[in-house]
Symmetry: C2
Subunit: 154 residues, 2 copies
């Protein structure tokens, strides 16, 4: 088991956009209960199957496995709740941290979330000037929620 | 994706028991909806993560991955619905087919199910004399149902 410790923010400007080339991601959920998530994700030519457990603060157990791309396509089509989440992810390294900025597409177009993964809950973070309000504890911004309650219908 | 084509029967005697040595299995479900199953199974020292899709007759899409034993222990404890299913499985080769006889334990003690996996829905099967009523289409006997409605409480 890995422990995912993650803080999540809205952004306040487009400055992040020139800092990285995006990759396209498509993902869906076989299970999207709060303490029991099974996610299938395709990024470029590779695919992952990820399980996430109960959150405790900003930490969460995570189990992740690479799976064949064709399996992922089948699972997204046959087992995942619809619609799928589509987004462009920009990975931006700043001050020893990697910021992942997700620009959502489709029903979530207009939503942009910046995430940073930490080694401990107490780790201090220097916020880039394009980072705004923290939404780590706002369940509406969970990807497993966004396909059910997409941003354009908030 | 593999296709699982499987027929399932009750047994009418104990004759199968002397035909194989059992292995002990422990399994649980992260998701147990009819068309969307995510199962974690430990058999001896190895562990599998299995996804199953919608049934069509006795056929069903199946995606299966070996995972580390320790991950499986964590997933069974933290993400799977409780209680887990525990059973002894006897694998018996007869006439070119492998019969799997599951002797359930715990809350399902007393239940014994014989399964045979086929290459096509039309494949003919010679039933051993210890095989009784077919229950392929009886959802009560699905493992994903047995932990919720265990046999001893039927």
């Amino acid at each position: 088991m890995g422990i995912e410790i993650e803080r999540k923010f809205l952004v306040v400007s487009d400055e992040w956009k020139r800092l990285a080339e995006p990759v396209f991601m498509r993902q869906g959920y076989i299970c999207s209960l709060p303490g029991r998530v099974v996610r299938v994700r395709i990024e470029a030519d590779s695919a992952m199957l990820t399980m996430k457990g109960k959150s405790s603060g900003i930490s969460r157990g995570e189990w992740e496995y690479a799976i064949p791309l064709m399996d992922a396509e089948e699972l997204l089509r046959n087992l995942c709740e619809q619609p799928l989440i589509e987004k462009k992810r920009y990975r931006i390294a700043i001050d020893g941290l990697v910021w992942e900025v997700d620009e959502f597409l489709g029903d979530n177009a207009g939503l942009i979330i910046a995430e940073v993964e930490l080694l401990s809950e107490e780790q201090s973070v220097i916020l880039p000037n394009w980072v705004g309000e923290e939404v780590s504890h706002d369940h509406r911004y969970a990807n497993a929620n966004l396909f059910k309650h997409p941003y354009t219908r908030w």
